[in-house]
């Protein structure tokens, strides 16, 4: 039930944002993430952004996973 999906924030008006979910434009609430900016990716749960995704951390995790994969290939 705690499903939350990453969506791109397209525009913001007051405490609401417009986002695209599966090709459809939806409105989500920013009550829980007042720091949200256009261009951010938000984690959306039941119509509310519950967090803003950290893009740098995502890149860093992927870099680490690529390193692990290269290491495994080298040994395998």
């Amino acid at each position: 039930m705690c499903l939350a999906i990453p969506v791109l924030i397209k525009s913001i008006e007051d405490k609401e944002a417009e986002v695209e979910i599966g090709g459809m434009i939806c409105r989500i609430s920013l009550w829980l993430t007042p720091e949200a900016r256009v261009g951010d990716y938000a984690l959306v749960h039941t119509g509310y952004a519950i967090n803003i995704l950290d893009q740098e951390e995502a890149e860093e995790t992927l870099r680490l996973l690529r390193e692990i994969a290269e290491l495994a290939e080298g040994e395998g």
Partner: protein, 364 residues
């Protein structure tokens, strides 16, 4: 889609899997607390990809499954009051209470409406001023702030016919109760990712410190889970127990302060009953005094009578991780997703449903 496809890349999964196989020497049992993780693990066949040394058990992290029959009965009793509209997330519709389900009472004229967000429930209240809209508040820390926000919005907009039935649950106290029971021995805990997006990683520290169990917060894509298991294995093999985050793009150690502030403003902890675990102090939430006029239980007089548990259903034991769906005599026979006997088969995140859909737990 960004942040999804990258975390499903099979070549990166292979790297993690071979690292897990290389590192894991000690036999371990890891629990995924969260039903969302259970679904990822089954959907991608992750149990089968791991070393033989690693046993995975599912925990009680599905809010629908842990809702006690006594609470479901209250929701059903509220639906019988004239001029009441019940607004609920769809997951709750089919769950059998002691004598009926919301789906059945809806077929008998109760006004039960499925909503995707509390904002929909608020709109229904605004559009139907002569009726009372009762939102069924189920969910963990992930969902609670959205319900707190709806109450503050109702206050701000002067909506006076909006109520909630608070059946919310807090995760850390339930895990403590589970560990204190001594029934299930764990060597690592996959901590829920979206609960942690709100509460952060600090509230898990007592598990690593007091119980010596490694904890890693995980996201919901297959690479997230594999990375989390890899980190748990590393802690076990290094003789460590600490709290780490494998889901750093979504979870900060301090959580979401704004969400926590709203939750704290509207709710206070109270005793709550969990299916399978029983009563756990400070694991539920009730409205604070200032917001009690939104409390459906105080506003309406109901007497649902004593709860009754379906015969033969062992959801409670499954939720505690001491039994699996294969141990249930009804599994796949009298109990299927179409005709569910217990909540673990109703909820798409329940263990019985995951086992059924992905073909595990059947005899022979």
């Amino acid at each position: 889609m960004k942040f999804i496809t990258e975390f499903r890349r099979s070549e990166l999964a292979e790297g993690l899997i071979s690292q897990i196989h290389r590192q894991s020497k000690t036999p371990v049992r890891f629990m995924e607390f969260c039903g969302g993780h259970t679904v990822t693990i089954f959907r991608y066949g992750i149990r089968q990809l791991l070393s033989k040394t690693i046993e995975m058990v599912s925990g009680p992290g599905c809010p629908v499954c842990v809702t006690a029959n006594a609470d479901l009965d209250k929701a059903i009793a509220l639906s019988q009051i004239p001029e009441v509209i019940i607004a609920t997330f769809g997951d709750m519709l089919k769950v059998p209470g002691s004598h009926s389900s919301l789906q059945k009472v809806r077929a008998n004229d109760a006004d039960v409406r499925v909503v995707y967000s509390t904002t929909n429930a608020l709109e229904i209240a605004a559009e139907n001023p002569t009726e009372s809209v009762i939102f069924l508040g189920i969910g963990f820390e992930t969902t609670v702030p959205t319900i707190a926000a709806s109450i503050l919005q109702a206050e701000e907009r002067g909506i006076k016919n909006y109520y909630i039935l608070s059946m919310h649950k807090l995760c850390p106290p339930a895990i403590r109760a589970l560990l204190d029971s001594g029934e299930v021995k764990l060597d690592g805990l996959i901590c829920p990712g979206h609960v942690s997006a709100i509460i952060g990683s600090h509230p898990w520290e007592f598990i690593a410190r007091d119980y010596g169990i490694p904890c890693v917060v995980s996201g919901f894509e297959p690479l997230d889970i594999l990375q989390c298991i890899d980190m748990l294995v590393a802690q076990v093999e290094n003789g460590e127990s600490k709290v780490e985050i494998a889901y750093r793009r979504g979870v900060r150690p301090e959580g979401n302060q704004q969400a926590l502030k709203l939750m704290e403003q509207v709710f206070e902890p109270c005793l709550a009953e969990w299916r399978g675990i029983g009563e756990v102090p400070d694991s539920g939430l009730r409205l604070r005094k200032e917001y009690q006029h939104f409390d459906a239980e105080l506003a309406f007089d109901i007497d649902p009578g004593p709860p009754y548990e379906p015969k033969g259903c062992i959801c409670g034991d499954i939720l505690r991780g001491v039994k699996t769906p294969a141990d249930c005599k009804l599994f796949g026979k009298a109990c299927t997703p179409e005709y569910p006997v217990g909540p673990c088969m109703v909820s798409s995140e329940g263990s019985c449903s995951a086992h059924y859909l992905y073909g595990e737990g059947f005899e022979g």
